[in-house]
């Protein structure tokens, strides 16, 4: 009997060791980029027999946040979050923090190699609570064939506001009725944020107590209204993808995640460049996917080690990930010859990474964005109020949200 018990025990220990540690990573990668991540995970699993990474995808930011909140409360969250940076503020106190030395010494992750603007807001009490892996930066996608049709140089796209407006005006004659050369949805708030930052503004004051966007926001709206009046930008809500893909519209200022599909679909007609500077300040809209670990899930040193090993693997092999349509968060990769040779389009766009502006790390940033969208609709879609009135009302509404938040903050 004793022998039998020993055998069973040995079997349990053997089975336990043979499975190693399983860590789950939750990502929002529902598009084609999910396949790139699956491939990286598969390679990691094949080369690390003691660790199994399971890739779980959730549809939206909201879904991810709800699952994360529930997971932290019930200690069933994934061990690794591959989370959009603007979704993180609610959880900053709930992610495992590391001193830069810990990362540097133990795992070879040098946070000084990350673009400073991208690391902003991720250092809490001297500890790094998340490692940005990429930047999804705005760039300009354009149709080279259309440029050539109207005598514009396809290899020399516009870089300044005047050049951009002139080029778009030149493209109007070849643009089908009902469309505009720059056929983008004016109600897409991220375009307004891009222009807000290019006009030197920001959403909130540094202490997050007051809105601070009115002045630059008015300028951004005025620029968009001017483009609408000139027939460069649509007057109403628009779905831009189909028209750009068919070659009916010519330009989009959009996220880097679109670069791969456009290249495949438009072939030689597709052109890419850094976003033109339409405002007074050199700035470009960007977000990041950040690797972070919920504290309650990595209390076991073995799990922490397994999760960090995978994060280090991603850190080292990030260039495979950028092929999905992301620019590097690491300065050394953004400037590397390897990136230039393997992914020249990513290399070109990533040269603007040092000017990236990202959402401030305030927990209600999405709600504030949704509230501003209401007034942007009124200004740019319904054309029922002026930019001055709209921004004044938007600031009032945002102040109400901030007051409510701070009255209950603990």
């Amino acid at each position: 009997m004793k022998k039998f018990m020993c055998l069973v025990l040995a079997l349990i220990v053997f089975v336990g060791f043979s499975f190693g540690v399983t860590v789950t990573m939750m990502t929002p990668l529902t598009g084609a980029d999910g396949a790139y991540m699956d491939e990286i995970v598969a390679k990691f699993n094949a080369t690390h027999p003691g660790i199994e990474v399971v890739h779980v995808v959730v549809e939206s930011s909201l879904d991810m946040k709800n699952k994360l909140s529930m997971g932290i409360a019930s200690k069933t969250a994934p061990e690794i979050m591959f989370i959009r940076k603007f979704d993180m503020p609610l959880y900053l106190q709930h992610f495992k923090g590391f001193t830069p030395d810990e990362w540097l010494n133990n795992y070879g992750i040098d946070v000084n190699d990350i673009f400073p603007g991208v690391l902003d807001g991720l250092v809490i009490d001297g500890k790094v609570v998340g490692i940005p892996l990429d930047i999804w930066i705005f760039y300009m996608a354009y149709n080279k064939a259309n440029f050539a049709k109207v005598g514009l140089d396809p290899e020399n796209p516009p870089k300044t506001r005047d050049e951009f407006i002139a080029a778009m005006e030149a493209l109007i004659p070849i643009t089908p009725a009902g469309l505009t050369p720059y056929y983008e949805n004016p109600a897409w708030t991220w375009i307004w944020f891009h222009l807000l930052w290019q006009h030197g503004g920001d959403l909130l004051t540094d202490d997050f107590k007051k809105p601070a966007f009115a002045k630059a926001g008015i300028e951004a709206c005025k620029l968009m209204l001017t483009m609408q009046e000139k027939g460069i930008l649509p007057m109403q809500v628009a779905d831009p993808g189909v028209s750009f893909q068919s070659g009916d519209s010519t330009v989009l200022i959009t996220g880097i995640w679109t670069i791969q599909p456009w290249m495949e679909q438009l072939g030689e007609a597709f052109g890419y460049a850094v976003s033109p500077q339409l405002g007074t300040t050199k700035a470009v809209f960007g977000g990041s996917h950040v690797l972070a670990m919920p504290k309650v899930m990595v209390e076991d040193p073995k799990v922490l080690d397994a999760a960090t090993t995978f994060m280090k693997y991603l850190w080292d092999n990030a260039i495979d990930w950028y092929a999905a349509g992301q620019t590097p968060a690491r300065i050394s990769i953004a400037q590397s010859q390897e990136l230039k040779e393997r992914l020249p389009h990513i290399y070109v766009v990533s040269q603007e990474s040092e000017y990236v502006k990202q959402f401030q790390m305030f927990p209600l940033i999405s709600e504030i964005e949704a509230e501003i969208a209401v007034y942007l609709d009124e200004i740019l879609v319904l054309h029922s109020i002026s930019p001055e009135e709209g921004m004044k009302e938007a600031e009032f509404a945002v102040q109400e949200i901030l007051d409510d938040y701070w009255s209950r903050a603990r």
Binding site: L62, N66, V237, L382
Partner: protein, 303 residues
């Protein structure tokens, strides 16, 4: 003495039997309705978060909702939607029930066509409608309306308040009217044909026959359908969330949409619970008003 004992024994058995029959429903009612309701009421008095300790705040969530400048516009949006969509849905349902009640070729297929949308999930249905009402020129509605000369150029279907609501109401009626048609068809089939025949002999036209025969006969179904439609209308969420995303300018945000934003976007569950009780009160008021109005109108036709 013995007789009365055996009587009470029988009554006891009968009552236990009734309760046992009720038990399966009661169990699920308590589990999925009663307990969540009580729990929702409790949560509404707390600053309730999944990520920190919950703090009792008394009625402050209700006060915040009452004073919230964003809440009342969404109540207004929802009420207007209910006032327009409920009568429209009922009229369309009764109309089609009448048409389908007469024996005709292909009646079954027509019935399937009307009723089947009610059994499909919202995301699939609404994604298809979103594709139909896409704002680019090759969007299905734009393409065919342009081709047939009804419109010139691409229409941005969710770019103005009126059109956005029009599309939402259209899709809603298409989606939910089938079940109402079934209800009214069932009610219409119970009406004795002799009543219509004698009314015809007395010279009553179609409108009078509808008013004095059909309406009184279908009143109990109408009661039920009105309450059902009011509850559905005040629960409007999927259409606004998927089709218009609450826009333009927040004009298609509804009460439940706002509840969702507060509860899940902000994760302020206490306040979301208080909003849900506000919604309950508003739905109750409107359901009672509608019931009183419908009862009165039917009584007047009977009298």
């Amino acid at each position: 003495m013995r007789q009365s004992q055996s009587k009470s024994h029988r009554r006891f058995h009968r009552e236990v039997g009734s309760w046992l029959f009720l038990l399966p429903h009661l169990f699920f009612f308590v589990l999925f309705v009663a307990i969540p309701l009580v729990f929702g009421m409790v949560i509404s008095f707390f600053n309730w978060s999944l990520l920190s300790d919950n703090v009792f705040v008394g009625a402050s969530n209700y006060v915040r909702t009452w004073n919230d400048s964003r809440f009342w516009p969404v109540v207004q949006n929802t009420v207007i939607f209910a006032i327009v969509s409920v009568p429209l849905t009922i009229i369309v349902a009764i109309l089609f029930a009448h048409i389908l009640n007469k024996k005709r070729f292909g009646q079954l297929w027509l019935l399937i066509a009307f009723v089947s949308p009610a059994f499909f999930g919202s995301v699939g249905i609404l994604s298809s409608w979103k594709w139909i009402f896409a704002s680019f020129p090759s969007g299905l509605a734009n393409y065919y309306l342009n081709k047939t000369g009804f419109i010139n150029g691409a229409v941005s279907w969710f770019g103005s308040t009126g059109v956005a609501w029009g599309v939402i109401i259209l899709v809603t009626i298409w989606w939910i009217v089938g079940f109402s048609i079934l209800l009214y068809m069932g009610a219409l089939q119970r009406i004795p044909p002799e009543q219509y025949e004698s009314a015809k002999l007395d010279g009553a036209g179609p409108w009078k026959r509808f008013l004095y025969i059909t309406l009184p006969w279908i009143r109990s179904v109408l009661f039920f359908d009105v309450v059902r439609q009011v509850i559905l209308a005040f629960g409007l969420f999927d259409q606004a969330y998927i089709l218009s995303v609450g826009g333009p300018a927040g004009t298609t945000r509804t009460m439940v949409y706002y509840l969702y934003l507060v509860g899940f976007e902000r994760q302020d569950f206490g306040r979301a619970a208080s909003i849900s009780w506000f919604i309950f009160a508003i739905v109750l008021i409107f359901a009672v008003i509608q019931l009183v109005l419908v009862t009165k109108s039917i009584r007047s036709t009977e009298g």
